[in-house]
């Protein structure tokens, strides 16, 4: 029974990812007073891309071809780590938060390699920018998770979520507020959202993520797009699970799981609205200001870790 729910969670994160992307795009359009595309449009895009032909640059090697597969694979593994409706996940007992962070890093690493391998100038530029952003965001990502892990005395994600569930929702914890702020900034950087990267840009000189996928087409492109959608969905679900998990089912009853699912949908809807508002409200940071942005995240997460020392006497 537990396994079935875990598989369902992972499937929800994987299959629901394009929907999340579609809803965010629609909300942004509405905020900008446009009509916006249908929220199911990303599914249609994926379907279309899977039926198309894969065009491979003649100068590329095998790395170009396996990069999308590795990216997709690692992101799916990450999705299997995150508890959504109950305090466990498919791979929860197999690894701790380090594994989660570095699975994401693995996917990103191979995507950069693939972009470099594609041989285009924009691929190289996107890859170098991505390297900067990811190397700077790794520290706050890890530190905020470390702060939470110290408080919970557990290193696996499900354990941390379980600990948070047992706390009183009204006891505001300084560590959690700081870790939340830092994690939110890292989320924006990792998933390539404003103000770090503009996902809807068509100007190559402003691209980070989009620049890396310029050379891909057909099923490879579909896998990459899907992987980035899964990454966004998984990180949003991780944010909810780590900082606001109350409502998750504790037993195995269908009723509890249904309620948990409903609560999850409403929480993620709230986050999607917030994300759309933030993306529409701020301008994209110039590249030399991104280290500042991530530096602030690092300082805040470092402070969160220091605070755990003061809270846990």
């Amino acid at each position: 029974m537990k396994i079935a729910v875990d598989i369902l969670q992972a499937l929800l994160l994987i299959m629901g990812a394009p929907l999340v992307r579609g809803i965010i795009a629609r909300l942004k359009a509405r905020l900008q007073r446009r009509q916006g595309a249908n929220i199911w449009r990303p599914y249609a895009d994926l379907f279309k891309l899977f039926r198309k032909e894969d065009l491979i640059p003649p100068t590329s090697s095998v790395v170009f071809r396996i990069a999308p597969l590795l990216l997709f694979g690692s992101t799916v593994c990450v999705a299997a780590f995150v508890p959504v409706v109950h305090v466990s996940a498919l791979l929860a007992s197999r690894g701790d938060f380090f594994l989660l962070v570095y699975l994401l890093a693995l996917g990103r690493f191979f995507l950069s390699l693939g972009a470099l391998d594609g041989g285009s100038a924009f691929g190289g530029m996107g890859a170098s920018r991505e390297a900067l952003v990811s190397s700077l965001s790794e520290a706050p990502f890890l530190l905020s998770l470390v702060a939470l892990a110290i408080l919970a005395s557990r290193a696996d994600i499900a354990g941390m979520v379980g600990w948070t569930l047992q706390q009183n929702v009204f006891d505001i914890s300084a560590v959690h507020i700081l870790a939340f702020a830092s994690f939110a900034m890292v989320l924006l950087a990792e998933t390539g959202r404003m103000p770090v990267d503009n996902p809807t840009t068509h100007l190559e000189l402003t691209m980070i993520h989009e620049g890396m996928v310029l050379e891909y087409s057909g099923p490879s492109l579909a896998l990459i797009e899907w992987a980035s959608a899964i990454k966004l969905h998984a990180m949003l679900a991780l944010l909810i699970a780590l900082f606001g998990p109350w409502g998750m089912a504790s037993g195995g009853s269908i009723w509890g799981i249904a309620v948990a699912l409903l609560l999850f949908c409403s929480k993620i809807a709230l986050l999607m609205v917030l994300l759309s508002v933030i993306e529409s409200a701020v301008a994209k940071l110039r590249m030399y200001l991104v280290p500042d942005f991530l530096g602030v995240a690092s300082a805040v997460s470092a402070l969160a870790v220091i605070f755990t020392m003061l809270v846990k006497r």
């Binding site: 009204f170 505001i172 300084a174 530096g295 602030v296 690092s298 300082a299 402070l303």
Partner: protein
């Protein structure tokens, strides 16, 4: 205990977290208006704290002080700042001498230092260590803002944050001083700000800018 009672308890136990947040955000703020907004948020938190203590200790004087804090620091002073920025037509930028990253690290370091400093005193006086550390970090951050921000208006704001810190320290250790003294202190702060406002006008008139780091004629 009632809803008000619970709210009071929660305010008293967690207000220091919000004070830390406001000073961290002030460290990275890049516009004067943002900093002033953060200052008024800080004063709202302090007002809530004053009213919570008034409710818990049943002190009538504290209610008066709370209302005063609200009217002066949340309403009057930010409005005066916005008026000043509009009239002076100054550039909105804060002109910090440290990058946002450095500022946040420095403020984080100061928060840690204030915890270290109040550790021994907190035990002796039986006040929550968090609140005392929040007061000391407000004082240190106010001093830092005064030193690192080169606009005259930001120096005034740094001074106000410093006074906020001293006020919070007084509040949690002694539950407020005699009312007459508190009123006198507020009066002094107001007149001080008025004079500083007059001087910023004069600086702007005489020097055509508000960059106090360029006021270095008198040396030696």
């Amino acid at each position: 205990m009632g809803l008000v009672g619970i709210a009071t308890e929660k305010v008293l136990s967690s207000f220091s977290v919000f004070l830390f947040l406001t000073i961290l955000l002030m460290a990275v703020a890049r516009r004067i208006s943002t900093s002033v907004l953060l200052f008024s948020l800080q004063s709202v938190v302090i007002t809530a704290e004053v009213l919570a203590i008034a409710f818990q200790e049943k002190l009538v004087e504290a209610y008066v002080v709370g209302v005063l804090v609200f009217m002066i620091k949340v309403v009057a002073i930010p409005r005066a700042f916005f008026l000043l920025t509009k009239k002076l037509k100054t550039v909105r930028d804060v002109k910090a001498s440290t990058t946002p990253t450095q500022s946040v690290f420095i403020v984080a370091l100061m928060i840690y230092l204030s915890y270290a400093a109040v550790h021994s005193y907190g035990q002796a006086i039986h006040v929550p260590v968090d609140a005392l550390a929040a007061a000391v970090s407000l004082i240190l951050t106010g001093a830092f803002l005064m030193v690192s921000r080169k606009k005259a208006l930001m120096q005034m704001l740094g001074l106000l944050v410093l006074e906020n810190g001293i006020f919070v320290a007084a509040l949690i250790t002694t539950f407020g001083m005699p009312l007459v003294i508190e009123i006198g202190i507020f009066f002094d702060i107001l007149i001080g700000l008025l004079l500083m406002g007059i001087f910023t006008f004069r600086i702007s008139d005489t020097f055509d800018h508000l960059d106090v780091s360029k006021l270095r004629r008198l040396r030696g």
